[in-house]
C-alpha cells in the first residue's frame, strides 16, 4: 500500500511530465524550453501559491495552530543547516560545507506545490498558512550559513567581508522569491474573497497545467546535470537522499509532539526535506564564491528534487499516515 501511493503519485500528469523531461535529455531530443519561459513559470507558481495561501489564511484566520506551525518551521529552518554543516564537514572544506548546508536548510517551492497537488489527489487538506511557513523557511539557512562561515573560516580578507555583510543580509531576506511570496501572500490575505474571485481563473484554475509545463522543464534541467553526479561523489549523493529523509522524519516527529494536523505535518516534512536550487545558490554564489556551485546545485536539482517528488512524497506520506492514521 506504500506502493499504491507511489503509483498514485506517479500517475499525476505533472510527475509524468517531469519524467518525460528527463527522458528527453537521455534520448537527446534537443527538446528545450528557452529562457525566460522557465522564469515565467516560476514567477507564476510563486504568485499562485502566495495568493492562494493568503486567501486560505483570510478564511481560517491566525489561530494558535498557525503560530505553532510557523514556530516549528522557523525552528527547523535554523536547526537543519547547523547539523547539516557538521555532517558535511566530515568530508568537505568549510566553504562547500556551508554552501550545501544552507542549500538543504532552505526549501524548494516546486517541491512544495507538487506535494500540495499530491495531497489534493488524496483529498487531504492543509492550511494556507503552510505557504507562510515556507516563506519563513527560505532565508534563515542563508544567514546561519554566513554566521558559521564567519565563525569557522579564518577570514583573512576580513574587511572586504564586512563591507558586504549588510548586502548579504538584504539578499537573504529580500531575494526575489521570498519577496514575491510575501507580497502575494499579503495581497491574497487582504483582498480575501473579492480578490480571489478576480485572481482565481489565472492563478488557480490553470495551476496544475502550469505545474506540468514547469516540471517538464525541471526534468530537462535536472537531467542535464545528472552527468555531474559522478563528480559529486558517493558521500554527497548519499547526503542528497538520506539527509532529506532524516529532515522529514524530524519534522514529522515535531509535528507529532505538538500535535499538528496530518496535512500540515506532511507539508512541513516536505519543506524540511526539500533543498533550494534558486534562492540559496544565488546567495552562495555571491557570498561564498569559494564554494563549488556544481556541487550544491547538482545535489539540490539533480538528486534531491527528483528523489523528493517521485519517492519522497509517497514515503513521507506513508509514515505520516501510519501515525495519524
Amino acid at each position: 500500500m506504500g506502493f499504491d501511493l507511489l503509483i498514485q503519485n506517479t500517475l499525476n500528469p505533472p510527475i509524468l511530465f517531469f519524467i518525460a523531461g528527463m527522458l528527453s535529455v537521455f534520448l537527446r531530443t534537443d527538446l528545450d524550453i528557452p529562457q525566460p519561459l522557465p522564469k515565467l513559470f516560476s514567477l507564476y507558481l510563486l504568485i499562485s501559491i502566495g495568493i492562494h495561501g493568503g486567501y486560505e489564511l483570510s478564511k481560517s484566520g491566525i489561530t494558535t495552530d498557525v503560530i505553532t506551525v510557523l514556530g516549528l518551521a522557523m525552528f527547523l529552518a535554523f536547526l537543519v543547516p547547523i547539523y547539516s554543516f557538521f555532517i558535511l564537514r566530515l568530508k568537505l572544506d568549510i566553504y562547500n560545507a556551508v554552501a550545501i548546508a544552507a542549500t538543504y536548510g532552505s526549501i524548494s517551492a516546486v517541491t512544495f506545490v507538487t506535494a500540495g497537488a499530491f495531497l489534493e489527489s488524496l483529498n487531504i487538506k492543509f492550511g494556507g498558512y503552510m505557504v507562510a511557513a515556507m516563506t519563513l523557511m527560505e532565508s534563515p539557512a542563508i544567514i546561519i550559513g554566513l554566521i558559521i562561515l564567519n565563525l569557522f573560516a579564518n577570514n583573512k580578507n576580513n574587511n572586504s567581508e564586512k563591507t558586504s555583510w549588510k548586502e548579504i543580509l538584504r539578499e537573504a531576506v529580500f531575494n526575489p522569491s521570498v519577496y514575491l511570496l510575501m507580497v502575494s501572500l499579503f495581497i491574497g490575505y487582504i483582498t480575501a474573497e473579492k480578490g480571489w474571485k478576480a485572481m482565481e481563473p489565472l492563478f488557480w484554475t490553470l495551476f496544475k497545467g502550469m505545474l506540468a509545463f514547469f516540471l517538464l522543464d525541471m526534468g530537462i534541467i535536472a537531467a542535464k546535470r545528472i552527468g555531474e553526479i559522478k563528480k559529486v561523489g558517493m558521500f554527497l549523493v548519499g547526503f542528497g537522499i538520506f539527509m532529506p529523509i532524516f529532515n522529514a522524519m524530524l519534522a514529522i516527529f515535531l509535528g507529532y509532539i505538538f500535535n499538528v494536523q496530518k496535512g500540515d505535518t506532511f507539508m512541513l516534512s516536505v519543506l524540511a526535506a526539500s533543498a533550494s536550487y534558486i534562492a540559496v545558490p544565488a546567495a552562495m554564489r555571491l557570498s561564498v564564491p569559494e564554494a563549488n556551485p556544481s556541487l550544491y546545485i547538482t545535489m539540490a536539482l539533480a538528486i534531491t528534487f527528483p528523489f523528493n517528488i517521485t519517492f519522497g512524497l509517497p514515503l513521507y506520506y506513508f509514515i505520516v499516515n501510519l501515525i495519524w492514521g
Partner: protein
Amino acid sequence: MEARKKIEVVIDSYHLGKVTEVFEKNGISGYTIIKDVIGKGERGLMSADELTDAFKNSYIFTVCNEEKALKILEQLRPILKKYGGVCLLSDVMWLIH
C-alpha cells in the same frame, strides 16, 4: 578616426556591477553590455539556462584612450582574480562624429 583601446570583459552577470563601477570611476564615456552569454572556463560551464541567474555570464566592452585603459585594467585584476572571468585589451580606431 582616432586610435583607442578596447577593453572586453566576460564575467558572471552577478558581478558585472563591479566592472561597470570601475569603468564609471575612471570616467569612461560609455560601455556596451551583452547579457546572458554562455561560457566555459575554469569555473566550469555557464549554461545560462539555470533557474538561478547566478550561472550566466555577461560580456561588456568599453573603448577609451590608452592611459585610462591601463588604469582600469589594474583595478579589474583583483575582481577577476576573485570572481573569475576574462579581460582582453586590443587596438581599435574610433570614428569621431
